[in-house]
């Protein structure tokens, strides 16, 4: 069987890319034909089974050049290096184009997805989750979009962990453009950016729902941090369920429109993230978990008494303003601002608009 597949790629050259771009329908057809050994795939092309293939040939020759130029690799469904979990899903991409270091065989992946219009609460949770997972040797998979996705990647990067971005455009373009620097950071850190689209394909709207199946397909579990009622993140969760993955959802305020989706998922049986470390399911190394807790304690111990007071006041509230902190701690406003700068430099807090958020 393996031999047959290899012949297939050698003989056909770039045509299979054409297949992958045209979706799983043809691929499944070919695979099933091949399995039954009813048809020589080469003959399939020449027989005119796929109309217009000659016209497309040039496009794929160019794609090969782009790959060489940009250092993009490709891995096929039949190859050993293809992510094992992804292969198991109903319609795996025929080819994955990737930059950086592809997910390794023994590596555990976990997806974090959510809305682009995240609240401070959602962003905080995504970042903490990314950190928690990344810091425990788990590859954090997300889509590099604004909001939750970006925060999840950032969290993983900060914890020094591995992270993988699955794009809706070709991996040659780090989209969305405003997150290009994030993509570069992911690659620099030894992470991976992958996609089933041609190296320089633009990120078109219809790519994204299909992209989401790859995210959930790569992962053992997926956490939905915030999602609107019918959002892409909710679709990812549905796909994850179909694919038999663990689905976690962050419970949210019932008045928040971006928690509608996650709360509904919980109702439908997703595991609620009662505490963030509940994502470190049984398989996660217990020792690593302990180390993370210790690290956190140590960090809090590294604070001066005043810094500790401010941090404690923040922790009680989750997100708040400098003015409220001054009221709670009794320090004058200018002193609060000074302490906040120190905490920011230590990476303990973040400021988003006028709200201060705990980062760690």
């Amino acid at each position: 069987m393996t031999e047959k597949k290899e012949t297939f790629i050698k003989e056909i050259g770039p045509y299979e890319m054409w297949l992958s771009d045209h979706g799983g329908r043809y691929i499944r057809r070919i695979l099933s034909l091949m399995k039954r050994e009813e048809m020589d795939p080469k003959g399939l092309f020449h027989s005119g089974f796929f109309p217009g293939w000659k016209r497309e040939l040039k496009t794929y020759e160019k794609a090969f050049e782009d790959m060489k130029r940009l250092g993009i690799g490709a891995v096929g469904l039949w190859e050993e290096a293809y992510p094992a979990l992804l292969r198991e899903i109903y319609d795996p991409p025929f080819l994955l184009y990737y930059r950086g270091k592809l997910i390794e065989k023994e590596e555990i992946c976990f997806g974090i997805v959510g809305t682009r219009r995240a609240t401070d609460y959602g962003k905080w949770a995504a970042r903490r989750l990314g950190e928690l997972l990344g810091g425990n040797g788990i590859n954090v998979v997300s889509g590099m979009a604004f909001g939750i996705d970006a925060q999840a990647h950032r969290g993983a990067l900060e914890a020094g962990g591995r992270t993988t971005a699955v794009l809706g455009s070709g991996p040659g373009l780090l989209t969305p453009a405003a997150n290009r620097s994030l993509g570069e950071r992911i690659l620099e850190s030894g992470g991976c950016v992958l996609s089933e689209c041609l190296p320089l394909a633009p990120g078109l709207a219809y790519h994204y729902p299909r992209r989401n199946r790859i995210i959930s397909g790569l992962c053992r579990g997926v956490a939905v941090v915030e999602a609107g009622d019918r959002s892409g993140a909710a679709i990812t969760a549905d796909m994850a369920l179909e694919q038999g993955r663990d689905v976690y959802a962050l419970p949210g305020n019932i008045t928040s429109p971006v928690s509608l989706g996650t709360n509904r998922l919980i109702k439908e049986g997703a595991t609620p993230l009662v505490s963030l470390d509940s994502v470190l399911w049984e398989g996660a190394p217990e020792a690593a978990k302990g180390a993370f807790e210790k690290k956190k304690e140590r960090e809090i111990k590294g604070l001066s008494r005043e810094e500790g007071m401010v941090y404690a006041a923040l922790e009680g509230q989750g997100a708040d303003t400098a003015q409220k902190l001054s009221l709670l701690t009794g320090f004058p406003l200018s002193r609060i601002q000074q302490i906040l700068t120190v905490l920011e430099l230590k990476g303990m807090v973040l400021k988003n608009r006028n709200k201060i958020i705990i980062a760690k």
Binding site: F146, N179, R335, Q337, R353, K355
Partner: protein, 513 residues
């Protein structure tokens, strides 16, 4: 016979001497004005004839030629009515000897011979004084303002008849000089920080801005109090010195806007041009260049509300004025420089609809819409802003229960208290720089290096922050200036760690999405 009367025309920041030469000669009766007169000066012919007749004089039925010298500068304005009328009398009536040698005449005439006030008198008077003129005869309403000019005797006249009698020595007018300084009525500023609920962070920022003349940008949803906060800013600005009052009055006078402002106001100006304002209106311009909003805000506040809505060209044009404190306008007729040391106060919404981050997720703006909105304020201008802050409605501070309300009332910040702080901080800067009107916000890079060096501990913090927050060299300099002002507010000699740490909270933050 020919008579020569001295007058003047406004030119740039000052004025030029103008000789009005009148010849009344033989020939068919006619009346012509030459020497590049603009429309308003041409019309003087129609006003001067009835004014003379109704003032009780004859209008000579002879050939009258008026030459305005120097003949190559375009003359605008209505203030040449009086010198033309007097010139005609002096040339036609040898029986009315007038002393015209060393006095300048300025004034618009009404048809019944009354003298009416003219625009731009302060800059004109100052310019004439500079050119060596010591006396000026002018309309009563203008006299007080012209009297601000040191060493200039101002003779106010009600009408043409009085003016002629005075020039003939038949009556006396007591000159006005140096008066008027003390005349300003005290008027409490309309806005006061005690009107504001909460918003302590923003008030602190405004105090720093006022103390060091630091430009700032407030970002917040509609109704969060950005505009109210900024309108309260003048209430904590110190009074202008006398020379500054003159400088500012002069600019208003030049812009033909002296009615907009009390001539001797000690209060710094506050300008808030609408966002549809053009680049020319903002920085100044016109065939005969006039000062724009930036110069009208000289020594005071220029408030750009809804800053991203301003035309790109208008915002770009602000670069030189903000950087250099003066603006040079080159036009066909002249190249002029106007001062504009102002405090730039800008406000904007967090996103196009303004509701980003508000509870209930009402904002439907996409990430790229928000980015585009923010980019409308280009680097060119945000690079020149020292302080950034996001504000939001302080909902907790509204509708408090009665007993808390009272407690709150006592805690409210009053502008008068802040103004004392600001005055002290400014005093320290003045002592340090030994120069009037130079504050931390205006320091050039080399001056920052010389005066704002933080002490070693603070330096380490600054370096660490610069690395962590990836700040540019310019941003570091801005931070040093702000930290210096915070130290000045506290009355400290050195810029300490605490000052740098506070200043860092007002840095520009990249929006993370």
């Amino acid at each position: 016979m020919v008579a020569i009367v001295i007058s003047g025309i406004p030119f740039g920041m000052g004025g030029e001497i103008l000789h009005v030469e009148v010849d009344v000669g033989k020939g068919l009766p006619s009346f012509s004005v030459v020497g590049l007169p603009a429309a308003a000066v041409q019309e003087a012919r129609a006003r001067v004839r009835p004014a003379l007749v109704n003032g009780g004089f004859d209008f000579p039925p002879r050939r009258i030629t008026v030459n305005l010298s120097p003949a190559d500068i375009r003359k605008e304005g209505t203030h040449l009515d009086l010198p033309i009328a007097v010139g005609i009398l002096a040339a036609a009536r040898e029986d009315l000897p007038m002393a015209l040698k060393d006095i300048a005449l300025v004034g618009e005439l009404s048809l019944d011979g009354q003298l009416k006030p003219v625009e731009g008198i302060l800059s004109l008077a100052a310019g004439l004084r500079e050119k060596g003129i010591a006396k000026i005869l002018l309309p009563e309403e203008n006299a007080a303002q012209a009297a601000l000019v040191e060493g200039l005797e101002c003779y106010p006249a009600k009408n043409l008849t009085q003016a002629v009698h005075f020039l003939m020595g038949r009556c006396r007018i007591s000159p006005l000089a140096g008066e008027g300084k003390e005349k300003e009525r005290f008027r409490a500023p309309a806005f006061d920080f005690s009107m504001i609920n909460g918003q302590k962070e923003a008030i602190r920022l405004l105090t720093i801005a006022a103390a060091g003349f630091h430009s700032f940008l407030l970002t917040g949803p509609p109704g969060s109090g950005k505009s109210l906060l900024i309108r309260c800013l003048p209430s904590i600005l110190p009074d202008l010195t006398f020379s500054q009052q003159q400088e500012v009055g002069n600019l208003y006078s030049l812009a033909g806007m002296s009615r907009e402002r009390e001539p001797f106001s000690k209060r710094p100006p506050f300008r808030s041009p609408h966002h549809t304002c053009s680049a020319t209106a903002l920085v100044g311009g016109g065939a005969r260049p006039r000062p724009g909003e930036v110069s009208l805000a000289h020594r005071g506040v220029l408030f750009l509300d809804e800053a991203p809505e301003f035309q790109r060209s208008a915002i770009e044009a602000l670069r030189q004025p903000v950087e250099e404190g003066r603006v040079t306008i080159a036009r066909e007729k002249a190249t002029l420089t106007f001062p504009c040391r102002f405090l730039l106060a800008a406000a904007r919404n967090p996103c196009p609809c303004g509701m980003l981050g508000q509870p209930g997720d009402v904002c439907r703006c996409t990430a790229s819409q928000i980015r585009r909105y923010r980019e409308r304020l280009s680097r060119a201008i945000t690079d020149r802003i020292d302080l950034f802050l996001d504000v939001d409605t302080d909902r907790r501070a509204f509708l408090l229960p009665a007993e808390k309300e009272k407690e709150q009332e006592e805690k409210r910040i009053r502008s008068a208290d802040l103004r004392v702080l600001v005055e002290e901080a400014r005093g320290r800067q003045k002592e340090r720089y030994k120069r009037e009107g130079l504050y931390n916000g205006f320091l050039m890079p080399e001056e920052v290096e010389a005066f704002c060096r933080p002490e070693p501990g603070a330096r380490d913090l600054l370096l660490q922050a610069a690395k962590t927050f990836s700040m540019s060299g310019r941003a570091i300099h801005r931070l040093m200036k702000v930290a210096r002002t915070i130290a000045d507010l506290q009355g400290r000699e050195l810029t300490e760690e605490a000052h740098v740490a506070e200043a860092l909270q007002y840095r520009e933050r990249r929006q993370e999405e």
